[in-house]
Structures are given as C-alpha cells and as structure tokens.
Symmetry: C2
Subunit: 645 residues, 2 copies
Amino acid sequence: MDSIKLSHHLKSNKVKIDDGFWNKIISLVQREVIPYQYKALCDKVEGAEKSHSIENFIKAAKIKSVIEAGGQVPVYPVDKWFYDEQNSDSNAFKGWVFQDSDVYKWLEAVGYSLSIKQNDNLKKKADEIIEAVCSAQLENGYLDTLYIINDRSKIFTNLKDFHELYCFGHLAEAAVAYYNGTGEKRLLEAACKFADLICETFNESNLKGYPGHEIAELALIKLYRETGKKQYLDTAEFFITQRGKAPYYYDIETGRSTDGRDYIYNQAHKEPRLQDEAVGHAVRGVYLYTGMAELAGEINNDELLSACKKIWNNIVTKKLYITGGIGSTADGEAFSFDYDLPNDLAYCETCASVGLIFFARSMNELDSNSVYADIAEKALYNCVLAGMAEDGKSFFYVNPLEVLPEASRRDSRKKHVKPVRQKWFSCACCPPNLARLICSLSEYIYTENDNTVFINQLIGNYAEADKCSLHLKSDYTKSGHIDIEITNIKTDKLKIAVRMPNYCENAKANMCYSYADGYMYFDITEECIITVDFEIKPQIIKCSNRVRENCGKVAVTRGPFVYALEEVDNGSNLQMLTLDAEKPLIYNEANGTITASGYREAPDEELYKAYSPASKEKTDLTFIPYCKWGNRGENEMEVYIRLEK
Amino acid sequence: MDSIKLSHHLKSNKVKIDDGFWNKIISLVQREVIPYQYKALCDKVEGAEKSHSIENFIKAAKIKSVIEAGGQVPVYPVDKWFYDEQNSDSNAFKGWVFQDSDVYKWLEAVGYSLSIKQNDNLKKKADEIIEAVCSAQLENGYLDTLYIINDRSKIFTNLKDFHELYCFGHLAEAAVAYYNGTGEKRLLEAACKFADLICETFNESNLKGYPGHEIAELALIKLYRETGKKQYLDTAEFFITQRGKAPYYYDIETGRSTDGRDYIYNQAHKEPRLQDEAVGHAVRGVYLYTGMAELAGEINNDELLSACKKIWNNIVTKKLYITGGIGSTADGEAFSFDYDLPNDLAYCETCASVGLIFFARSMNELDSNSVYADIAEKALYNCVLAGMAEDGKSFFYVNPLEVLPEASRRDSRKKHVKPVRQKWFSCACCPPNLARLICSLSEYIYTENDNTVFINQLIGNYAEADKCSLHLKSDYTKSGHIDIEITNIKTDKLKIAVRMPNYCENAKANMCYSYADGYMYFDITEECIITVDFEIKPQIIKCSNRVRENCGKVAVTRGPFVYALEEVDNGSNLQMLTLDAEKPLIYNEANGTITASGYREAPDEELYKAYSPASKEKTDLTFIPYCKWGNRGENEMEVYIRLEK
C-alpha cells in the first residue's frame, strides 16, 4: 500500500521568515508576549490575577522529595476545574486543572523563538523553568502538578473532565520544539518518560481510556517522529481507536450508562473514524481532527482520512466564519449546528483558529489541494491576528464579528464578548497558543514531496527544501507581488507549486505554469526567479443565505484580510449604515483602509411605525482590516453591512 | 389635594362579554384549560409530571394538626427552588417553592369563570380545594405549604429568593375573585388572616423586608378595596417604600454587603419611586409596577406616578416587541437593555405580557390616554393569545418572533424557545395566568369616572356602568365596525370615550366627536347608538433601526394582529424570502390570512463567494396571525421579513 501522506511540511530549522508584514509581528511576540508571559507564569505581573503555574511545579517537586524520602504527604481534593486562593490550603494546587499547560505552551513558543533567533537570557530563563518542571516529575515518569500535589491516588481516574493527558500533550509539543530550537534534551527526556508511563498505562489490556481534552494524540505522533519510538504512535492510535467506542469509557469512569450523546462535547460520542461533523468544544475538536489526520498519514488509514475530509468539509462549508473563526456558541465553547453563525454571539476562540491551522496543515500533507492553506490563511490573517493587540500587550479570547459595547456590559448572553482586549486571562490559553503559532509560522509555509515544493503561505522567507533552496520575496499583503528565487536544485523533475489564493480572480506569472487543485505548478529546470502577481483588490463578499444572520448583508475583503467597520471611523449605530455596491471601493495604501460609498439612515425615534423608505444621507464608509479592530478604545464594530437597496 | 386617580375600571360583575372573537376563546378556557388544570393540580393527568400542589396542602394540614395537638413534626431543608420526588423524603414538600400559587391562580380563574357563568360542578371542586387550602392555614394565619411542611422556624427568613409573599399575593387575588364570583367568603377570610399576620410581621418597628417576587403589593391593595382594612394598604405602601432602600434588606438577610446591583433582578436595586427603567425579571417587574401604579392612585403619590410613567415609557419605546412581548433575555427571564429585542432569542414570557396588561390598566386609571389600552391590546391579541394552542390543550411559556426548530434542538442558547406548545410545565405559571386573564377579560374593557365611560378594548359586551348601560356590538377584529348602544343614562354630562387604536389612520362615526389623547369623545344627551368604523387593513410596519436585528426588515399587521410567516405555508428557509412592499397585501376574510407578493432567493450553496445579486423568483407569501402560529406541527416561523430591494 502506498503512503497516503503526499508531502511533509518543512520545519522551522529549514525556513527563515523575512517578510515585511510578518517580521514585525514575530518581533512583537518575541519582544512583548514571551517576556510578559514569563512574568505572568512567575506571578510577577503587578495587579494581575496570579497564575500559580511555576509555584505549582515547585510545590510538586517538594511533594516528590518527601515521597522519595519515604515521608507522609497531605491529600487535598481533586474535584473541580479551578482551585482558587481563598478556598483551599495554601500548600494545595492552585489555578486551573490545566495550569501546567501554560508553562508548556510558553516553553514551546520559546523553543520556536530560539530557533528563529538565539537569546541567551531567554534560554537561561527557560532552562530554569525546565529544571523546575523536571524536578516535579515522579520517579515513574508521571508529571501533572494537580495530582502530584493534591492526590496521587487519583491519577488517571477522571480522564473525561480533567486534563492530565492534555498537559502531557503540551509538554511533549514543548519538548520537541525546545529540542529543535536549542538541541537541549532535558525536557524531551522528561516528556518521553511521561510518554512511556502513558504507553504502559493505556492499552488493550490495561486502561482503555482516552483524553477528555484531546491533544495527546498529535503530540505522541510528534514525539514518535522525533524519537522513532513506535509505542508512541501505537498509543496515539490506541487513543483514537478507543475513543467513542461503546461501551463508553466515560460511562465506565463515571459509573453511568448513557447513549454517548453526553460526550459530544468531547467528540467521544462515536468513533472518530465514523465521525463526519465537527461538534463539541471547538479547540478539542480541531486538536482531535489534527491527530486523526496525522495518524491517518502515519498508518495509511483511508477510513480515518475519509472521516477527516468529511469533518473538514463540514467545517469549511457550514461552520466557518468569514474570519476563519470556528465555534459559534459560548456554551461549551463549541461548534453549533450547520449554518448557525451568529455575528454578535460568536465564540470564535483564538485557540480554535490556531487549532484549525494545525488541522489544515495536517490535511494538506495528505491532500495537495490549496483549500487547506486557503482556510489557514483566512484564520491566520483574521481571527488569529485579531487575538492580539497591535502593541502585543492585550488579547482577545473571543473574536466576534459584531460588537456593541453596551451589549457586552448589559447582556449576559454576550458576557464572553469583550469590546476591548484583556491584559491576561486567568484561563490563559489563547495568548500562549497565539505566541507558539506565530513563532512557528515558518513551519506553515512549505510542504514538499519527492519532486514538488508547495508554497502554501505567501510569506517572505529563505528556505532549504530537500530538493532546492528558495528565497521568497513577498509583497503579498500589499500588492500581491511575489518573487521566488530557486537555487541549489537537486532534482531534474522539480516543480514549484504556488498556492493561488481562492479569492484571487487573476494571477500573472513570468513563467508558464499549469494549474491544478488551487496551485500554479511551475516546472523548474534551472535556477530562476518566478514572479507572480496576484490580483489583490477590495472585494464584496456574500455569505450564503443559509446563514440567517447575514441575509441582505455583505462583507468587504482585500487579499487575505477581512475588513470591518468601527464606530471610531463611522460613528455609532453601525447597523444604520448601508453599502452602495455599485460604487468603487478604494484601497488606501498609506494606512491599509478601504473607503466605500454608502448611506447613513436617520434614526427612527418611534419603536414601531407604518413603513416608509428610510430617510438617509450619503456617507463615506471606512473599513479597516478586521485583525486591527479594537485598538482604539472601546467601540462598536461590525464585519457585515447591509447592502443599499 | 385632588385624587390622581382619574377613573376606575368596571369589574366583572358589571360587564358581560358577548363577542364573536372572544366568546370562543373564553369558552375554550372554561371547557379545556380550567378542567385540565384541575386534573394537573390533583396529579390526575396521565403521563404528566406531578404538580404536587394539592398534595402539599394536604401534607401541610396534617402537620398543622400534629402541631396543634402538641406533637413533634419533622424538619426538612428549605434551601432550593425545586424539591423533586427522587431526592427528598416522601413526607416533605414537593415541587417548586411557589407551587401553592398554581392552586391560587386556578381558583382565581374559577372565580372569574363562575362570575361569567355559574357551574355547580366546578364550584364544588373549587370549594373542596378551598377547604384543603384553609385546612393548612396555621392558627396565626400563616399559609405557605413549603414552610409549614418543611420548617416552621425558617418562615420569612429568605424573602429574596423564596416565595411566601408571592404565594400570599396570589391567594389574595384568588380570594377576591372567588368572593366576587360566588359570594363565598371562606377563602377571603383565609387571605385576610394571612394578610393580618403579614401586616403585623412587616412594618417599621419589626421586619423591614419586602417580597423577592412582587405581587403582594397589588394584592394587598385589592384586599384593602374589598375589605376597607387600611392596614393592607399601609403594608402595600410599606413594601414599596422599603424596597431598594439602603442598607438593602437583602444584604441584611444574606449577611452580605453589596451596592444593590445584585438586586436588579428583583427590582430592589433602588427605591421604586426613583426607578425609571424596566429591569430584571420581567414578570416581577410588571407586577411591581402595577402595584406602584395602584398605590400611587390610592395615596395620591405623584412621585410614584411619575416613576411609573418613566418605566412605562421605557418599556413601550425601547423594550417592547411588536407582539406585546417583554423580557428579551432568557437569563433571568428578564428585561435587557434599550432596543435589545432579538427575535430568535426572545423570552417574551406569556406571564410577562399578562402582567403588562395589568400594568396598562392601572396606568389607564391614572392617565386617561389611549396608549395604555393600545399596548394592552397588542399584548393580548398577540403574545398572550399565542401562549395557548387553538384547542386549548398546550401552551407556550416563551413567545419568540423567529423560530428554527433545529436551533431549538441543537443550540443551547435557544433551549427555552420551543417550536411547538407544551402540554404542561413543571413550572406551570403561564397557563393558569393566561386562564385568569381570559376569564377576567371583562374587567379590561371599561374605565369610568364621574362623567365619562371609556371604552378601552373594543370587545363586544353588555355593561352596567355607573352612569349608563352599554351594549357594544363588535365586529372589530374582522371589519373594524362597532355599534355602541347607550341606554339608562343617569347624568346629563355623559361622555362616551372610544379608544381609537393607534395603528388606525381613519375612523368614521355616525355622530360628532372630539378627539383627545387617543380617544373619540362623544357627548351623549339621550339614548342612542354610536357607530364607528375603524379602518382595518393590512399594514407594513417598520421597527426602529435602533433595533439592530430588524434593520432592512418589516412586519405585517392587520388591526390588532401581528402576522407571521410559517414554513407550512411558505416553505423552509424563511430567511430567503423577501417582501415586495410596492404590491398590495390582500386580506383573506375566509381564513384571516394575508397574501403578499415577494421573492424567494435561490439557496447559495457556497458559504462565501464574491457578491452578485441573488437569483430569485417571484412568489406569493402567506401570513397568518402570530397568535395562531405553531398550531400545525413543528416548523419555522418568523415575524420580520426582509424588504425586497
């Protein structure tokens, strides 16, 4: 059987980003986000809620020493998701049940950051933290501070709700990134030791459980690739195969008898290979789907690939916001039903879009079609980038498409929708997730197979592929122009496949190409420079009228960017504005805004009255890229605008 | 100081409804709803959740006998809103903390029903229930089965959350209605005995508390009017004066220190006389506001009247659905902020619109302006009537303006929105509230003062006002034609003031009239028949563009009825339909529907694509009265439709 894996992505040690748009953002993450998060993890941010993250590792290390010295250690309850300062013993675990993962995500970002640019001071801090992490690891490899500190006897007894395997997954991801970025093995060894324990614990003849919050699946595969230890792949497969099988493991664990529907939230209502719809907690979902796709590639499982394709199609044709956001409902931070994409109630967690980008890349390796990178681009340039303020100091967890600040304050249904970015979150999953993605962005540009190098993201960089060297000079986000210099060619069958963005109606190249599955294929016989000009212009986009909220409305985009209206540019009551689609949309190169023609309706003072056409006046509309909204104080924002009649 | 009360309403013993539209509905309530509710109260409905209502009174009576015999009685917790069968001792109280009120609301409906038409069998059942109620009353007058059964020592210790004073209020309302309908004093005496205890318990020098769920205020005033006992009025005033005063009684009760914002839900965040916005739980709100208006009239308090007017204006200009529904959010079944009127997430509890009709009548007595009856009409013919199925056998608690059955099933944010009426509710407040309103509808037709009889609702009837007799023949809902025969005139200054509905652009009368504050004033010098023809025609109504959800959309009405589109008539995906406002709307007299011209867009199969005008085809649209929706199985419904461009 041929491998169903058609290509592999180039890793960060092979690709160095140099891009007018992204250099600044990556530097911002390195300069602001990583140091700030370090302080947060160490509880050194004045006025911020304490993270307790490092403190928990130190407490766990102490418990470990006492145990190893044969001493008695206390027991505290392991019975909830959040352990606050007030209501528990000061020696007990503090913070969220997944608090450890914040440390790991930070270490992962640092690993990638160091592979971009060495930084001794940062590495020293990271090494100290790694020391603290490793000091907490039990002799048998177990490493989760909640259980180590509070109750060793409860380890692996609540897989459904608690996060030991989730924290393990982030540990493994961090370990691989840190090893790749620094060559240091300390954390990788700790991750393997924990992985070994997990492999021993979970299998056909022992515990038949699987993670409540997925990520261990994809992380075990990463660890397998890094170490070659087959048991890691086997355990990833075990987790994915066991998941959702009746009798449900979570039934056994909780002593209940259900029909599995209770586990939709965890995507454990049926076997992954039989799933065809994205459901439940969106972040969990895309982490599982990524793991499924990775596993399908590793073990050549067509059934799993087919399930992944169905789920992917379900997301992108029925459950995806125009911004690349996913997860329409705050209740369970979850996918909703098909075409349920409310703008104002959207959840669209930053982490979920980060995970969607993971899933897209994994699918892209199995299917050389540009749809995956198209969607990844949409998520990256819109929902994910919107997650961080322009100064890198505050973050959105939730990325709505319509915001009325009064609603966020006064309507409890919208309490998750913040009109301004927050400094930090007690549940701080999104900022470090964003940091690790941005610092590893170089890994999302290329996939490569025997003869073809695929350029999936049009981001400027220098790369060493297996078959050639590339220097991509990109003015993509501004003019749509890119130059790809190909040197050091190692095969006479080389093809360079450049993704033609799906919104792009025209592209001009300086060389002949054939077009297939969204890519422009160039046959390369000698060193050369490919020049492509993608037509990038403001566009008016219509959302399907199956989405009830957007009927009669449109959105404005340009290139990869979705645009939005803000009150600061357009006045309040944005819903009273309409867009005249007959008039041209003008892109303002100086500041990246788009000016359009439209109308402003006069406010109706009566709540109800006999219909007559609205009285209105012409007005210019100013659109800004969605990713930049909320950087000028609290104000109204909307992506969709009514079309003028 | 002159009384600020300008008129009083005619009570049910003075008005007999005889109306082509309403006779059937009143009969339906008498024939179906009242007997069904009796069975429910007695736990005799097969397959339905048990009510435990009568059972609780029987248990309480036993406890009472044991106490009076000097015996020991058990103690059970009084710590939650709902006491289920499984998790508590079978001798303990069962059901909701306000379970007693279901019995009282039924008795109130029966009282009104018997005043419409004597029914020995029904009266016998009611008398038996009254016997059960009275048997449970403690020697000191206390009567709330939760506390009598579970824990006598906790009486009046949790006014904020529990419902003793609420149940008392319904007892008093039932007692007055039953006395008026039958002349029987048994229940009235019990209510007075409990009222006497409440008056003793709550006052300046004793307990300074007030009801968490308002209604006792208006009920005490009813009891005062019936008995002339001033202490009832004083205690109503005490409750309203104490409410929301700092230090907050609920702070004292709960041992906390707050700034009062926690009590917005209970409208106890500030003193009623200082309130100017409708906030919190909508039913509680309108019950309080009704009590405030009633009190203002009784004690000539202009400040309270002014607060009532501000709150009224806030509701009707900023927080009212076109259907007369109030309460935009399911969270707290509450008012939301100004202009927040989502169609699909609406709560619009049937009870809240019933309470709005109470408030409207109380205001109408203080201000002879037709706005109150206009709004009452809107609520009555739309939100309230929609609450009951056409066969009187199932009910809506929540009355949304847009329903997609899949959303109700799959979107937890809409789990309160039922696509079909339910047989009964474990929290069964709405069906009996609707029953008592419909059976007392005769009390909402007239107000009268020294010289003027105001006809507020254009419902056919025979009435004995103080100054004349009236026979109103009404074809109002069909043709807009009414005849008012005036006989037995007792003053030479008689005026008949007929409300001209606010939607009505033209009205023709057979006699001269002057117009003021929404009424047509006829000077009557001799027996005569006034004939009025209101122009009733299909209208297209625009909701203010301050309501974001309805921009670009319109609703269709005719006379008092708001119309709606249903899937069964118009196909699925109602959001793809548009209305051509240039074409005429045709009223179909035979079945009450309206036919309009519009378009059906072809479904967009792509989730996002470059905008081009929708491909669409002409179609006829069928609108039905909103109050009739959901009578033909589960299907989509919407009130607002996009205007064709």
